[in-house]
Amino acid sequence: MDMNQYLSMFIDESNDHLQSLNEKMLELESNPTDLGIVQVIFRSAHTLKGMAATMGFEDLAALTHQMENVLDLVRNEKLAMQEFIFDTLFKGLDALESMVQDITQGGEGKADVTAIVESLQAIVRGDIPAGGASAPAAASTPAAAPAAEIAVKDSKGIQLDEFQQSVIEQSMAEGHQALYMDVAIREDCQLKAVRAYMVFDLLERYGDVIKSEPSTQDIEQDKFERSFSLYYVTQKDPAELQPMVTSISEIESVNVTRLDAQSLKEMSAAPAAEPEAAPAPAQQTTTASAPAAAPAAAPKAAAAPKAAAKAPAPAPSRTIRVDIDRLDVLMNLFSELLIDRVRLEQLASEVKVPALTDTVEHMGRVSTDLQNIVLKLRMVPVDTVFNRFPRMVRDLAKSLDKKLDLVITGAETELDRTVIDEIGDPLVHLLRNSVDHGVEPVADRIAAGKEETGTVKLSAFHSGNHVFIEIEDDGRGINRENVLNKAIKNGIVTQDVANTMKDEEVYQLLFAPGFSTAEVISDVSGRGVGLDVVKSKITSLGGHVMVTSELGKGTKFSVQLPLTLSIISAMLIRVGSEKYAIPLTSIVETGIIKAKQVRDLHGSQLIPYRDTHIPLLSLSRVFEVPDFDEREEEETEIVVIRKGDKLAAIAVENFIGQNEIVLKSLGSYLPETRGISGATILGDGQVALIIDPNAFIK
């Protein structure tokens, strides 16, 4: 069978599963006894194995199978999680990731994983190297106890809204009984939805189902595992009801809990509460269908924590996957529409027919909305970059023997896809830098009177037309003297200059090419490629990096990025017969100067600006414009631009106005032209070049 058509789906889903495996493993590591997490991990692994086997990726399936074996022991409490197991499972995940990567690049997804498989098998045999102190097999508690506890935990899964709660309270006041039911369907059941329907049908005959989890709709569409829970109001006695439900064929177990006012309140409001704090349900009766009570309870327990673990997770938004190329096509088509709209507006204003003007105006409003949507479509939450960092930081900290927490905030902040694609590497670099050079080893931290565990904060937020990503550590801070000594030694600055530099300027030296402050070159950072690469990457994205630091307290790297690279605000200007666009972000102000204010100094021209002099650059000469020369004018319009804290003025003929422009590339044929960063299409259909002001200031 040709599987190619499913391949991309397989890759997408595998990546999702791997990501969730990584996240859950980290979660489990910080909370190793939470079997709910193990369940989620197990399920992800299981799905992955199934998909891999179906697609014929034997190695992938085999390795996943071995990992599943270990997880199976853990979830059945035959094995307690410990460091060695975590490390082995993480190694397994890495191997899986590289296999999927290989498949993505058209490979067979084959890899030699015998070493990992052996360790996994050893773990299953109970053969754990030194350090695994507790005897794993004996660690398990009798199966019945956790089953009961989990059932209670599970019963806290469903949250009621105010209305539903008041309905239940009212019915209770009127003498009805409020029940909470967990229904599990047999694993081998083929038509779960039908069985579930029969349960609902039966219940509806004697009372009302107030709420179910998953929702009735999902259940009807077969979108549930093997069990569901519901709130039910009835006048029937639960003891009578239970056998009735159980008698429906292929129902494995039914667990009915009668609620009183207090337990209702606690249950429905509960998902965040600790399991230990669970209220004793007023009345709990558990029975299972025919065969045997005890064994049936175990699979029930297996299914239940799934729901418990699921409840606190945010509801997944409904999405479809769209090919990126299609989005690009959409963007291009839209920008054509935008150009036609401007043209149409011009024509309409010339013709002056009210009906036409109205229509064009309306079209203008619609297209503004459309522009917002189209731009939003390209926005991706930074989480897609951030989500691999917790794992990376964990591994790093381990290899450096440091203790640290990574705190991520604002992962939902959105950025243009083009920016997201590029920003990953620089952030990895900055994070590595913070972990390696920022946060001190445990001993140093204790000596400095700090907490053993260091903190690295990674946060993202919007501000105006920019997104800021900050990486802040509570480490040793930047030592000004060390930086300067190093910079002087490497010939980046001279001693004289060094003495007069402000702290911020000193910190910027970190980004100078060929600079590395680490005294010992570790394999983490300081491999010759320094922060200068980070800076040049971020600058090429139209962003900046700033550093603030306090010695002994910590360092903060702040990366400022433009929201989008596809539509920007720009000032359109004219020089002779040519039109150019200057990005608004680098314009300080516009103005007019008189010819006699311009001073010549060593062949360059200066103009007074505020209380200083700034260079005046002639666009007509730099770009060799044939039909304009500002030296023949009495007054010249100028645009003051900024790069960092340096200013310069560009002489132009006149200003056309401010506009939203769509960035276009000049095509791959043309060699890069200094001073030109791209092109845009104006309302009249002509191409205008976009000036790169950074190239004008040295």
Binding site: E624, L670, P671, Q686
Partner: protein
């Protein structure tokens, strides 16, 4: 396939051909935005239905004497290796089928154009010769860039 469909265009005295599947479209002359400080024969960029495409003056590229553009002037948009470029030519008004076997090795120079830019010469009939362009060579900039940098 022995037959080859070819777009025929005129440049100075000769007729040239480009395989039809490399040609995207043929446009009348349209406003060109000059790109400063770039290769001499690059006339600038045009907006072709929302895509910015650089245009080359083919006379300039082959160092032929330049000529005023008129209503016969055409821009042929070709696409080679995902790269779109427009050629300004004197006129373009024919599509012909030629046999592959009829294409012969080009002589050293045809109509002032060096052989390295040519794929071959095909005889259409007794009087008409069609010079097949080697697009990859025409679009190769390394030689030009080297020349220009020497001139600097």
């Amino acid at each position: 396939m022995d037959e080859l469909k070819v777009i025929v265009f005129k440049l100075a005295t000769e007729e040239y051909g480009i395989e039809v599947d490399k040609v995207q479209t043929i446009e009348r002359m349209m406003p060109i935005t000059r790109v400063p400080k770039t290769l001499g024969f690059v006339k600038g960029v045009i907006n072709l239905r929302g895509v910015v495409i650089p245009v080359i003056d083919l006379r300039g590229r082959f160092n032929l004497p330049s000529q005023e553009y008129n209503d016969q002037t055409r821009i042929i948009i070709v696409e080679v290796e995902k790269m779109q470029v427009g050629f300004i030519v004197d006129s373009a008004n024919d599509v012909v089928d030629i046999k592959r076997s009829s294409i012969e090795k080009p002589p050293e120079v045809v109509g002032g154009v060096k052989a390295r830019y040519l794929d071959g010469v095909a005889k259409l009939d007794e009087e008409r010769l069609l010079v097949m362009l080697n697009l990859a060579e025409v679009l190769d900039k390394t030689e030009v860039v080297q020349l220009e940098s020497i001139e600097d």
